[in-house]
Amino acid sequence: MPLVNPGQKLYFNMDIENLDVPAKKSESKGLLAPVKNMMKESEDDRTKQPAFTVGQHMLLFRKERERIKYV
């Protein structure tokens, strides 16, 4: 059986172009602003996935590559 390199599939499966990193909510400093974060942490489990971390790193490298290309 020939050895198959999964690199190509894995790379395209990452789809980092559509990786929308959730923006941090602006911390209001008002007197009535909630001190605790009332949002459930489980709401965005996607960000806890290891592939998401990898995607974020890849995005940084991709941006750096594009910067090098267009310099």
Partner: protein, 158 residues
């Protein structure tokens, strides 16, 4: 084909004798990413990688080899290696771009009909060696003739 391991060959060692049979050193993707980034950001590694990319070795092959070596060294498991692989590819491509190398990403399915420079160079070397050998062989008999000592025996013809 006949170099392949025979069935049961992997069971000829005690369980746990191989690095990949014991628990991995880095169990999470974050740890594995940190390990690879640290290794790949050294000047020595980057220079070597640029040389390899110059030889037209596909990035996918390099990334697969690197992560496979990590698995075999017991650094991380196969699944962590699979998750880390796209990042390795991106990092390798960054190194290539940084060094200004026109590398083969290995991401295109289209058959590459161009002849690789490295292949031409290998053939040229092989041919050169054959020519050198043939030249040496043709020279050898002449030298022997020159080096022939004059016969000085009692019965030698004069």
């Amino acid at each position: 084909m006949f170099d392949a391991p025979i069935p049961g060959m992997s069971l000829t060692h005690e369980l746990g004798a191989r690095p990949w049979q014991s628990p991995a050193q880095y169990t999470t993707v974050d740890e594995a990413v940190e390990y690879y980034l640290e290794r790949m950001s050294t000047d020595e590694f980057m220079n070597q990688m640029a040389d390899v990319l110059e030889m037209n070795v596909p990035v996918t092959t390099l990334a697969n080899t690197i992560q496979l070596a990590g698995v075999m060294d017991g650094k991380h498991s196969v699944d962590v290696g699979m998750l880390v692989m796209p990042l390795l590819m991106e990092m390798i491509m960054l190194i290539g771009d940084n060094a200004g190398v026109n590398y083969d990403s290995g991401l295109t399915d289209a058959p590459n009909n161009t002849t690789k420079d490295t292949l031409i160079e290998a053939v040229r070397k092989e041919m050169q060696e054959k020519i050198n050998e043939a030249e040496e062989e043709s020279k050898e008999p002449e030298q022997e003739e020159i080096e022939e000592e004059p016969k000085s025996g009692l019965m030698a013809r004069r």
